[in-house]
Symmetry: C2
Subunit: 240 residues, 2 copies
């Protein structure tokens, strides 16, 4: 059985300008790995309608799930919901279920549900709302695309809501070996090892720290027994 696949679409000029360092990609990558959904691609695009719409269509066609991050707040630069609706030719407007959630939230806080905040109730027809336990304004799922907020705390909460509803796979397990030798010395025997264990993913991630060259060798697979056997052999090859 192949695991389900996924892509992530990060929407935000602030990431591309270097102003903000994205945190959501790393979080989502870890969560998906843990439940056996294979994250195959991430794209970061600017707050540009064509870039968003085009990427949503492409990624939705290519992968089982698409997770978007960013651009669903109340300000003029929050255009994700409208772009995703457009990507699927879906009608979008203020929806009563989302409006009621917001109305109750702002009533509780003694704030006005003004025109700007009402923008956050714009949900495409047919979409399912994604719960936002942090600040109420919902995300939504349309087809295989999960539209979520960019604020890390809200994104994290929405990912948890969505993952509970998805078909998951066999978690990818990993074992790693820290080797203090340059990759050039490791590469020959590692290549032979990788061929022998062709059913596992064998990665070498070099580092250089304080003038010392080394690599983390990482084995990945779904079968713990097989991984442990491979790890024993890998350790024997590279033990000093």
């Amino acid at each position: 059985m192949q695991n389900p696949t996924a892509a992530m679409l990060v929407i935000g000029d602030e990431i591309l300008s270097g102003r903000t360092r994205d945190a959501n990609m790393h979080h989502l990558a870890n969560e998906l790995t843990a439940v056996g959904i294979d994250l195959k691609e991430v794209r970061v695009v600017s707050d540009d309608p064509n870039a968003i719409t085009g990427s949503v269509r492409e990624l939705s066609d290519r992968y089982d799930n698409v997770f978007t991050s960013g651009g669903i707040g109340p300000t003029h630069d929050d255009i994700t919901a409208d772009c995703v609706a457009k990507a699927f030719g879906a009608h979008i407007d203020i929806r009563n279920d989302a409006r009621e959630l917001l109305q109750a939230h702002y009533d509780r806080n003694g704030q006005e549900l003004n025109e700007a905040r009402l923008r956050m109730a714009r949900i495409p027809d047919g979409a399912l709302l994604i719960d936002n336990p942090v600040s109420t304004a919902p995300g939504f799922t349309i087809k295989n695309v999960h539209v979520m907020a960019g604020v890390p705390k809200v994104f994290t909460a929405m990912v948890a809501s969505v993952l509970a509803t998805l078909t998951t796979g066999q978690p990818l397990l990993s074992r790693s070996l820290h080797v203090i030798r340059g990759e050039g010395d490791i590469a020959g025997p590692l290549g032979v090892f990788a061929e022998k264990f062709g059913d596992l993913s064998v990665g070498s991630y070099p580092f250089q720290k304080d003038g010392v060259y080394g690599a983390n060798l990482v084995l990945r697979g779904q079968d713990a027994v097989r991984l442990d056997a491979a790890m024993t052999e890998l350790t024997a090859i590279f033990e000093e």
Copy 2:
């Protein structure tokens, strides 16, 4: 004059599995912003030949510059150079200029230039070498694609080498205002402001910290005088 555009392609299963948090995207974004090259898109793909080759072609067609990160070391999973060559139908093999650099480096260090290390001398015909002052093994530029190492220290050095050779633009300047009010309160007047200053980019980046809602309002443009004028007006609108 439009600024030149750029995309980045990060190659690495270790990012998509969540094992490693990418650092190169944030660095490149800042460097490009500083020299007036507009980073329009970032993609992260796995160590899969079709994914790499396809993305290189697409991004090379679409943007003025493409920067890749990762997959040019000596191990079996380092396939970027061959994939980039394939994307352009270029012949690739061990090239003498790269081999000589490596030979001198390993001679100096009393190490053997073995078969694995020689893989790092695989450079497509017609490509220009990118200097690697950290660990010698070069990157390369073919057409508008700059192929660089994933190890952050090496990536950073290579970016500096490449940027010195590129056509740059007008640096994008920014001013930002920290406002301790929820985006829903800001959005109305901010939208009016953004329309008035349609020649600037006006972004609102919400945060939520210790239960306090606020937003960083960021103005971006190429003209410092215009930015300062806009900033004065923005501050007047949102001062308490």
